[in-house]
């Protein structure tokens, strides 16, 4: 067993430099690395490129890093749940690259699987295809897309062990597993950190080999965006 534990979020982000390329797991506010985002905020690291499906809301998630103008560029599939984001985008302070959600997921997966490029049908004939190589397979047109990799991948899991093995919960899994594989350094925060042997090897979602630093988050707010109930 190789022990990946660090003392907490602050130690985990300690060497993240200005202008780093980060991947951040989560879909909407579900399964986001809340504690690590707080540590990035505190550290004040600037000029970040953030690869994440969404950009949070005004006062939560990546939205917090937008408020402090720590983000130079967002690479995402769906953004703009917040006013500050829109203001920075329209004023040209923030660069935004929009990628179809499945292509984003697959590009992260490719980054972690050593596949430099692949073909997907998403975006053929659209703005997304501009400047990209297309090719026909079995009569259908596909775009060539490249892998995405990050200097630091930051993911959030439900349970993890000292060896870095991760188990996600519910739809909080989303982009976390692929992003965990695509980081040069991968930081995992978990709700519960357990000793090796406590997790069933058969139930691991992210094998520890992909995780370089792991810690138990101090507090999880787990904010809900759309609180829909049935009577």
């Amino acid at each position: 067993m190789i022990d990946k534990r660090v003392s907490g979020a602050e130690e985990a982000v300690n060497d993240i430099p200005d202008h780093a390329i980060l991947m951040l797991g989560g879909f909407g506010l579900c399964g986001i690395p809340e504690n690590t985002i707080q540590a990035l905020l505190k550290k004040g690291v600037k000029g970040l490129t953030c690869i994440s499906n969404n950009a949070g809301v005004d006062d939560f998630g990546i939205g917090l890093l937008l408020q402090t103008r720590q983000v130079k560029k967002m690479i995402a599939s769906y953004v703009g749940e917040n006013a500050e984001f829109e203001r920075q985008l329209l004023s040209g302070e923030l660069e935004v690259e929009l990628i179809p959600q499945g292509t984003l997921a697959e590009r992260c997966r490719a980054g972690g699987a050593g596949i430099p490029a692949f073909f997907t049908p998403a975006g053929v004939g659209t703005e997304v295809a501009e400047g990209k190589e297309t090719r026909i397979f079995n009569g259908k047109t596909y775009l060539m897309e490249h892998w995405l990799r990050a200097d630091f991948s930051i993911v959030k899991a439900w349970k993890g062990d000292y060896a870095g093995n991760l188990i996600y919960r519910g739809t909080a899994r989303n982009f976390n597993p692929m992003m965990a594989t695509a980081g040069n350094i991968t930081i995992a925060e978990v709700e519960e950190l357990v000793p090796p042997g406590a997790l069933d090897p058969n139930q691991i979602h992210t094998p520890g080999i992909f995780v370089h630093r792991i810690f138990q988050g101090k507090h999880y707010e787990k904010r809900i965006e759309q609180r829909t109930i049935s009577k």
Binding site: F27, G28, L29, C30, G31, N53, A76, S77, Y78, V79, G80, E86, L89, L90, V96, L98, P100, Q101, G102, T103, A105, E106, C108, R109, T120, P121, A122, G123, V124, G125, T126, E127, V128, W158, R169, G170, T171, A172, R173, N174, F175, N176, P177, M178, H205, K222, R223, I224, E225, Q226, R227, T228, I229, S230, K231
Partner: protein, 218 residues
């Protein structure tokens, strides 16, 4: 003219036993409410869930369980959870049999535009481009015309495209139409109280009307 509920009810009639279905945000989400009990289907949420159940009761709410519209949901027995890459894998490989989504415009060749309005804030395509590029069967829920009365069933989309030649069927507030493989909208049904003439006037793209056009049964 149908209201949103009416459109959802009519689309629910297209749902067949054994289908795996992805429902977009808005009217498509409502369709789930009108699928008959004896029609067994599984709803897929592209963030990573097969087997979406009803919205939770207050005490069941779980922040770790949301649909692609970021709404809290529950799971049906026999559900499965997975990553977003696995999710779009099943979408691209055609395992999701039916995709129901909204549209701002559809062209007579089945092109769809539903992600961007130039000059307005761009929020992103989310999973829409993957879904329309991959689904074998796409039904669009939409308004036939804009508030100003301009047709949204066009010769060519004026808005940025989400996908080419992908829409198979449209259920609008005025009509049910097929998009023909060779191009053109074939009128299948009229909304209650709507005439063929009204539909003709509201459809800019090529409209094919053959024989008697029945009124929808909802």
């Amino acid at each position: 003219m149908l209201d949103k509920t009416g459109i959802a009810k009519r689309i629910a009639q297209e749902v067949k036993n054994g289908m795996y279905i992805n429902l977009g945000i808005g009217i498509p989400t409502l369709v789930a409410n009108y699928i008959p009990q004896n029609v067994h289907v599984v709803l897929q949420s592209e963030n990573g869930l097969l087997g979406i159940g009803p919205f939770p009761k207050e005490q069941e709410i779980d922040a770790d369980l949301i649909n692609a519209g970021k709404q809290t949901v529950t799971m049906m027995p026999g559900s499965a959870l997975f990553s977003s890459s696995d999710s779009f894998g099943m979408i691209r490989s055609g395992k999701v049999n039916l995709t129901i989504l909204g549209a701002m415009e559809v062209s007579e060749r089945g092109d769809i535009a539903n992600w961007k309005v130039p000059g307005k804030m761009v929020k992103g395509m989310g999973g829409a481009m993957d879904l329309v590029a991959s689904a074998k069967n796409i039904i669009v829920a939409m308004q036939h015309c804009s508030k100003e009365g301009a047709s949204k069933l066009l010769k060519n989309c004026s808005l940025p495209i989400t996908g080419l030649k992908c829409v198979k069927k449209i259920v609008s507030d005025m009509a049910v139409l097929d998009v023909l493989p060779e191009g053109g909208f074939r009128l299948l049904e009229r909304a209650p109280g709507v005439s063929v003439e009204q539909i003709k006037n509201a459809t800019e793209g090529h409209l094919l009307v053959t024989g008697e056009i029945p009124e929808m049964k909802i």
